[in-house]
């Protein structure tokens, strides 16, 4: 145990004193979050979006349903993301400006919506819509930055874990640190666990620091429990470290590892929904993205923060991450070699 903590300490000191990587791991995500917060702070999209359930009446060209500046999106059906409940969720989050349920003859507006009164007047001006009664939901808008912050922190975790574990152990192997340790009574398992724990502590602390630091200025939306969010983050870090360990298991060439890590981080960056939602992209792409741990972490974190999801709602993601970690650890344990 003493040797384990001594290794955790040595590795952590190595990181903290390596000012370059340490500062970068904090500053880079903070810059990203603030940068995007300002870049997308305007109300970019002037279109009104109205979710529609049931079939619209045959109407004149001047009617509400024919207004060109309004985009009507059908929400019929029971598929995930469809149905009245989903459309109302979106309305609460200001992703829709109005929901029109023609079946039960209700229309819904968000009391906090900027466009609510204008839409109401446009709607009531259409005689074909007479007799449809107004209902109200409330919900604060989700800013892009609320949506973005789990993505950026997740991305930072990914880089920090893959390079901090994968790359560093390969460097140790190349320059002979591992050979020297092999000559001591230290076990491979002890050494690797110490590396992993050190990285876990570092990543959880830097992630918390980045979140707290940006939250102080941007006040992110937080609907769910902090404990659940911590669990998602922890499991996410474990899965990324486990993935990094596969690279660390036996490779000897730093450049090769660098290339391989980039090879898997780029698809994850592009497809895991860090910066933009994949909704509406081809289904094949979305199923590929589902196999990435980063996708699952970000999805779960967004559900907790934006929709107040509890353990039950994010259980599939948590299960995925747990299974992924166990599999990656088993593979790296089977492959590991000191030299």
């Amino acid at each position: 145990m003493r040797q384990f903590w001594a290794m955790v300490y040595a590795r952590s000191m190595e990181f903290v004193r390596d000012r370059g990587s340490f500062v970068w791991s904090l500053v880079f995500p903070i810059i990203l979050v603030f940068g995007f917060a300002f870049a997308f702070s305007g109300n970019g999209n002037a279109l009104f979006k109205v979710g529609v359930l049931g079939s619209p009446p045959a109407a004149a060209a001047a009617s509400f349903m024919a207004i060109e500046q309004v985009q009507f999106i059908p929400y019929d059906g029971s598929a995930p993301g469809k149905g009245l409940a989903s459309s109302l969720d979106r309305l609460r989050r200001h992703e829709l400006d109005m929901v029109l349920d023609l079946g039960s003859r209700d229309f819904y507006l968000n009391a906090q919506g900027k466009n609510a009164s204008l839409l109401r007047r446009l709607f009531l001006a259409d005689p074909a819509m007479a007799g449809i009664s107004e209902k109200t939901v409330t919900g604060a808008p989700i800013r892009y930055v609320d949506w973005l912050v789990p993505g950026v922190i997740g991305m930072n975790m990914m880089f920090s874990c893959l390079f901090g574990v994968g790359f560093v152990i390969v460097r140790y192997r190349k320059n002979g640190v591992l050979k020297r340790l092999k000559a001591t009574p230290v076990s491979a398992l002890g050494f690797v666990s110490a590396q992993a724990l050190s990285r876990f502590i570092i990543v959880i602390m830097t992630s918390a620091a980045v979140f707290a630091g940006t939250n102080a200025f941007l006040h992110f939306r937080m609907e769910g429990s902090w404990l659940t969010l911590m669990l998602v983050a922890s499991l996410g870090i474990v899965s990324m470290i486990s993935l990094g360990l596969i690279f660390a298991a036996r490779l000897k060439n730093e450049e090769l590892v660098n290339g391989l890590v980039n090879l898997i981080t780029f698809p994850m960056l592009a497809l895991s929904g860090v910066f933009f939602s994949l909704e509406g992209s081809p289904p094949i792409l979305r199923s590929v993205a589902k196999a990435f741990p980063l996708t699952q972490v970000i999805q779960a974190a967004r559900s907790v923060m934006l929709d107040g999801a509890g353990m039950a709602q994010i259980a599939p993601q948590l299960l995925f991450l747990a299974v992924f970690s166990a599999a990656a650890l088993a593979i790296s344990a089977a492959l590991f070699k000191w030299e």
Partner: protein, 291 residues
Amino acid sequence: MAKIMEASGLRKRYGAVQAVDSVTLDIEEGICLGILGPNGAGKSTTIEIMEGILSPDEGKVLFKGKPIGRDFKRKVGIQFQTTALPEFITVKETLRLFSSFYPDPRPLGQIVELCSLADILDRDNRKLSGGQRQRMLLALAIVSRPEIVFLDEPTTGLDPQARRNFWDLVARIKAERTTVVLTTHYMDEAQVLCDEVAIMDHGKILERDRPGKLLARHFTGALVKIPKGCIDGALPASGRMVADFLEIQSTNLDDTMRELLAGGINLEGLSIHKPDLEDLFIELTGASLRN
């Protein structure tokens, strides 16, 4: 005296190169054994097999009469030829780290004293000079109170002053009755430190004995050497060509000089010295050690 390590019939092949070719080597407890040989002779491979780091293709290694097992790692101290130290941590922290690996490590103060580390304790590993680094690596090798220490070319690349300082440290470890095995291609180092030397080339041990005995076996008297270029005519009867020199082992220098002058040999490049391990090595392998 009891044998601390016995290696027999070691063979190790890398591709087309037979790096170690039937090496058998016993090491008595408490001695300092030097393995001498040019680069690529198989010295490092041999000792890494004995350290348990490499496994041989054939042959076996015994530590105190038993095959080396897990326990051996606590009883052996190793200094590899090249080792990177963990970056960004200090000498003291590195010593603490390695101390934590062993059940009964030497106290820090004792290691610092033994390896003269007091003035660099708080220095980052990356900022050590060549000599300081080797002292540090030696300290890591002895932190566990090992019964046997392997040092692989510990002074290669050091300046003469640093090499002599390092010899002092090794002498201190020897004085504790720790068995030391070191490889080197410096003859003076072997002559100063080693009780016994084994001369190795092409994966084989050519000779192995106390330095004095080895020299007595191969040389008598003084060694007279004349560069090849100074000789025009026939070789004198008592001499022979070794590498690029005419070499004469002389027990009577007056007679030798007369013989050379009579043979019309130019004495300009002549040297006379007591035969040393360097001469012995050239004698045995026909090549200079520093090639």
